[in-house]
Amino acid sequence: MPAILEFRGLNKLLNTYVEALPKLVNSKTGKIHTSYNQAVTATGRLSSTNPNLQNIPIRDDKGKIMRKAFIPSDDQHILLAADYSQIELRIMAHLSEDEAMLEAFQNDEDIHQSTAAKLFKVKPDEVTREQRGQAKGANFGIIYGISAFGLAQNTGMSNKDAKALIDSYFETYPKVKAYMDASIAKAREAGYAETIMGRKRFLKDINSANGVVRGAAERNAINAPIQGSSADMIKVAMVKINQTIREQGLKSRMIMQVHDEVIIDAEKNEIEKVKNIVLESMQKAIPLKVKMKVDMNTGNDWLEAH
């Protein structure tokens, strides 16, 4: 059975990505010219087509290999990838103003390890891999307004254990729970959820009598402000990066945006300047109660830079 799944995975990778990408290369420029859609997603994030960068696999090592094919424009250039670290959890810390979570980020702790230490009441260096995994599941699950059932499905825990984990999570981060409740209440009142910059997502089912559709709307009421604010932030950063690069007359260019990451085709002798611009623009895009962390790397292809 695993062999069949692996076969399918690789077959899809080969057919949909590896063999399709060369067909998108423009014969005149020798490049792909991805089309970005600014008016497609319900959350406010950008999406792209030809190719859809979002869909390029990143999880497993096999999928990642695709990134090797994305390279700098010539040997005078190098790729710089700048990736927001834990952008959504940081935004949740900001929105909820939960002291414990804010403090963990302020101290630049590994958030999943730190969460695990609190949940399982052990010292951070005693956290096991499994405990960190469960804490990570809870952290990400919470952002999506997940239920105990959903968490159990994702982590393979029993429903009972998942319920206990979530209860203990809310004890650890009490204001996160308050934030979730307030988000739903606010959405119920207004009919929409809102990001830090006021981007709206209408949730017409938030008062539905049907539990299934209402539940989905409630999860969106929690998630939309978090997802949408990270979209706001990345967009502000992009505008700032582009503007500063042009103002300073640099030859480096921003060439991609996908997930929480921007990629620059950086002229080699401008690299330090560009790194500063990117870091500054991304960190200061929208000032929050928690400092944004940006991981930056360079390389001769996207895989190496990431």
Binding site: L5, M66, K204, N242
Partner: protein, 605 residues
Amino acid sequence: MSKPKLFLLDAYALIYRSYFAFIKNPRINSKGMNTSASFGFMNILNELLRKEEPDHIAVVFDVNKPTFRHEMYKEYKANREKMPEELRENIPYIRDMIKAMNIPLIEQEGYEADDVIGTLAKRLEKEGVDVFMMTPDKDYGQLVSQNIKMYKPKRFGQGIDILGVEEINEKYKLKEPTQLIDILALWGDASDNIPGAPGIGEKTDIKLVGEYGSVEGIYEHIEDLKGKQKEKLIENKEQVMLSKELVTINIDVPLDQDYSDLERKEPNAEALEKIFDELEFRNLKARVIPQKAAPAPSAQGSLFDAMPEEEETYSDLDSLQSIETDYKLIITKKDTEEFAELLKKQKAFCFDTETTSAEPIKAELVGMSFSWEKRKAFYVSIKGNDLDLNTIIDLFKPILEDIGVEITAQNAKYDMLVMRKYGVQLSRNLFDTMIAHYLIQPELPHNIDSIAERYLQYKKVTTESLIGKKGKNQISMAQLNPEKVKDYACEDADITYQLKPLLEKELEDHNLTKLFQEVEMPLISVLADMEFYGVKIDSEALKNIANELREELIELEKNIHQMAGMEFNIASPKQLGEVLFERLKITDKPKRTKTKQYATGEDVL
């Protein structure tokens, strides 16, 4: 003399039809309400009154309470999906409209609409009227008689089928329509949760009823039947008999309504006007209560003269044919130069390009349209112009690049990328109607046709009507006569410019102006820069990756074939299913898909 006509309408069936008829392109009014169901139902009703001129009419509703069928069988309609909320909120409006039309609205607790309609039909046919039951529901066929017919709307508004005794008998191979009850009893009805006789095909059911006359007749002759069929029927006798009771329409509902109560009366124009205004049914209002409608905005005569018959049924919108416009083609040297001078004086205008491709990188400029006044627009055709391309570009470049000019455009990034190929850096002082609408209503469609329909009640000329549907027969804008492109291009610019103030106000009302001006608008040129610059791809590396993957796949395939003990196409779900479930028998209970194939999805495996 022909007999008087009585029409009995099955309200919810028609309302659902109306709602789903617009499901891909729902009618949303400026308050964000989905009015498809109200609009569709009112349209059906109005068409009916106009075409058939009934003498008597009533609209019958189901009551949302348990009926005698629930008492008989508690699972009755147990798996019914809840009514979608956006449909439900239409119901009070529809009821009010019916009342305002002065049409009796009948409902009877404990019974369904078909029982009420059946009772009225059977009772009133004796009065010497022709009864028409308006419904898409086949079950009504059992009520049909010499004086009672089904008036059945076809799908997608494709007209009406009138089904009398002959039609029903022929369709189900019956001797008389009441036998339809027996067929329905055997068929069952998944949507009503009526079990019927499982394991026997629908055609066989028809044959059995044809042969033995009724369900009872079949059971009397059960010994004549053989094999599975016989077994199944015996096994399910009880539920077949129950099903028969459930599908039988009750024609003895206690009702107060008399023949004279159903006489058609004049509508209450004031009450209707109020509802139409609230729902924003402008042209429907003009049709139903013309005395209340504002005079047509056009000097070309009324909307209805200009619109073809079938359009009228489903359109409630203005269009290029129905309003007066001032659209000019600019193609001579003199006109082009004079127009550039005129444009230079404008501080804000709408700009749109006409090109040969939806992909900006491939697109060639065919012309440019401009508008800064309602119903007035200009189309500068590059094709056929006295001036050559470069001269035209030189004339317009400084105007389009002037940061002091605010340019309104629908999907400005596209126009920006097209113009960039001609060395024009479109001003970054932009108002993009598509993105404005995206911020206001993120989840509705943002194409200009759809926004225009909702905000301006205006139906645009479609791109397809000009250049044909997507595909190899689609022609290019460049192949068209500029005069023909003019109307289309000018309309685009005109409509887009008309939308701007409306969207601007909505942005303001929703506190989205800052996000729009400081983030989304500046982002347009950032994305255009990124797309234009592009990303270099290492084709060699891709080839190597492809080769590695292929080798791994071959290796995996070998292993899988070895385990299966045979060669087969792993990528084919059909073959994989057969190997897994028939050859290897990895489970006794394989799941099946809708098409009866084995399910081999990731979750199943």
